[in-house]
């Protein structure tokens, strides 16, 4: 990974590319890379869909090696959804393949005139950019089907669906999984709209003829990876719960804890949660000939994904994730897994974030467009997104826009981005992360749910404000660093609980680069990323007043605990004081 591919989509006479040495960005991966380039090169006041914005795609620093779990790819830009800096990462095959091709980043710059749609093909022999208007208006599944016939079986695809072409604010970038299904999405923050604005429909990455990236010290690297994998296997979360039930194992936990946002954050408990729980979902998947255990990329040992079939055994979608099952399920009063799976498929196919889309449907229900629990109605609404009707475009721009258009006050967003499946009143630690993250409401930016509710990585009372700021700060720093390695964030559970597994990761990074790595190096990396992101957001016009939850979380107590969010504004302002 010693080079950067820069593609000027707005060059005179058509898109031009150049390959340059990685230079000052050497050693950076994932979020560290996307943030470094965006914060240095993108004007913070630019229009996110204009020629001045850039879309940076970067594999993690360990991607493309034999390190387990290293298949996350980061995409960065100025977000059209939040107006701030964005890093959205996904699994799938793209990170490993791009890293083996030797690129530390692809930077899409400029914006072409006219309506032509482009695809970019990259293999060991070079880069080919071509117009392909036959791809216009294709949703992700038929798009991949069409492209697959033209490229090697080893190719990985990064694509936008119809939502990206329409530049909707919740548009995602899809990454194909090992079976070439467009199921793993850089979902958050509208990165797909930026790719659409640059008129790039598909990036095809083919690593035929290339090998794994070699570590500087192969023996130490192998040994560290072995200890790392051992640690993941022996930890109950990554070794048992996630493989058996997937992320949706959380539905019952969060619901029992009274922290499951139901009917657009009106209550913390959904009476039919058990029907859409991970336990029920896994059993149904196996019964219908799908899979309850599946890896989103090669080299994954956790295998938290799965395959969801319909009652006739026909593929519907990948196993819907916890956040999706919540956003389209309990958040909308919907208790039917088949409806939720259909919505998950539609989101993936049109290429929109399942969280912001589910939250938008919840807000539409709040506005009275359809009743709570109306599954058929929810499917109709999401189909509007694919059709590009005015209503569909509104919903495809996420919860905030939907709330504004329909005059709804209860809109669960921070910096324009929808919250995830944890109520910030009954899990105050995640409220701190939602409010202060550089990314808008983003549970993964500092997953305080671990120590608050799951009792992993610490133990803090979720219903009290004490200690939440410090916890969120430490997790936001650690997460920024993990997001730079290409490692799946779920390694954080064993990492925080088992010092020897954390050491194994440090040793693995060290052996790869031929250096000694310490915990302090990881912290320093995380802090430097957050500092750049905060600085970009400040220059983009964000102040401390943007680091706040919507006021209804401070005014409306949520049952069953009947609490409001209690962390003070003064304390929220201390998150980035270190």
């Amino acid at each position: 990974m010693d080079k950067i591919l820069r593609v000027d989509m707005g060059a005179e006479g058509g898109p031009q590319f150049r390959t340059e040495p990685v230079g000052e960005f050497a050693g950076l991966g994932g979020r560290a890379m996307t943030t470094a380039i965006i914060s240095k090169e993108v004007h913070p006041l630019c229009h996110p869909l204009g020629a001045e914005n850039k879309l940076v795609i970067a594999p993690g620093s360990l991607s493309g090696t034999s390190a387990s779990m290293s298949g996350r790819i980061s995409v960065g830009c100025k977000s059209p959804l939040t107006g701030g800096i964005k890093e959205s990462n996904a699994g799938g095959q793209a990170a490993q393949v791009l890293a083996r091709l030797g690129y530390a980043a692809i930077v899409l710059e400029g914006k072409p005139e006219g309506d032509d749609l482009y695809k970019i093909f990259i293999n060991k022999d070079g880069v080919e950019i071509s117009v392909d208007n036959s791809l216009k208006n294709l949703p992700n599944y038929p798009l991949i089907e069409k492209l697959r016939g033209q490229y090697s079986d080893r190719a990985a695809y990064m694509t936008i669906g119809t939502a990206g072409e329409m530049k909707l604010l919740a548009a995602s970038i899809a990454c194909t999984d090992p079976e070439k299904r467009p199921t793993r999405h850089c979902g958050r923050g509208g990165t797909g709209a930026v790719m659409g604005a640059k008129r790039v429909k598909a990036i095809i990455l083919d690593d035929t003829g290339l090998k794994m990236r070699p570590p500087k010290d192969p023996e130490k690297f192998r040994d560290a990876n072995r200890r790392f994998v051992e640690g993941l296997r022996k930890h109950t979360i990554t070794g048992e719960g996630l493989p058996a039930y997937g992320t949706n194992v959380l539905t019952n936990v969060m619901n029992e804890a009274g922290a499951y946002p139901t009917n657009n954050f009106r209550t913390g408990r959904f009476e039919n949660a058990a029907k859409i729980s991970g336990e029920v979902q896994a059993e149904l998947e196996v019964k219908r000939g799908g899979l309850a255990t599946h890896g989103c990329h090669r080299g994954c040992v956790i295998q938290c994904s799965g395959v969801y079939n319909d009652k006739d055994g026909k593929y519907v979608t990948k196993q819907p994730e916890y956040e999706t099952v919540w956003a389209h399920g309990g958040n909308c009063g919907i208790d039917d897994l088949d409806v939720i799976a259909r919505l998950d498929f539609l989101d993936d196919n049109f290429g929109v974030d399942t969280m912001d889309t589910g939250a938008a449907v919840g807000v539409a229900m709040e506005a009275g467009l359809i009743p709570w629990g109306d599954g058929a109605g929810a499917i109709r609404l999401v189909e509007e997104i694919g059709k590009g009707t005015p209503l569909g475009r509104i919903l495809g721009c996420g919860a905030e826009v939907t709330g504004k258009v329909f005059g709804v006050e209860r809109v669960p967003v921070c910096k324009g981005q929808a919250m995830a499946a944890y109520d910030p009143r009954s899990v105050m630690g995640i409220g701190v992360t939602y409010a202060t993250s550089t990314q808008g409401a983003d549970h993964t930016a500092g997953y305080s749910v671990g120590p608050n509710v799951l009792k992993s990585g610490g133990d803090l009372d979720p219903l009290k404000p004490e200690g939440q700021v410090e916890m969120s700060r430490n997790l936001q720093i650690a997460t920024a660093a993990v997001d730079s390695t290409g490692m799946c964030l779920f390694i954080a559970f064993p990492l925080l609980d088992q010092p020897e597994t954390f050491q194994a990761l440090l040793d693995m990074i060290g052996a790869f680069h031929g250096i000694a790595m310490t915990g302090d190096d990881v912290t320093a990396l995380g802090k430097s990323i957050l500092k750049k992101e905060r600085d970009f957001n400040t220059r983009a016009g964000f102040t401390k007043h943007h680091d706040r939850l919507p006021r209804f979380f401070l005014k409306e107590p949520i049952p069953p605990h009947n609490v409001t969010f209690q962390v003070t504004d003064e304390d929220l302002d201390k998150v980035f004081n270190w």
Partner: protein
Amino acid sequence: MRITVKLFATFRKGRFDAEVREVPPGTTVSQIVEEVDLPEREIGIVLVNSRHAILSRVLADGDTLAIFPLVGGG
């Protein structure tokens, strides 16, 4: 007194999802854990009436006890 015991994820295997049980006053979470033969070191989360509780917690009539192995996701 009567309490409701709910089990989740791997703890359901060979046991039950939810059961109402008659127990003597003064019964602790620990005693229930022993009764239903759960490996104590595998217990991740204990909730009594939706609030986190410790194993020595004394249960009251009408309580709902939810026991999970260590789970995570998100």
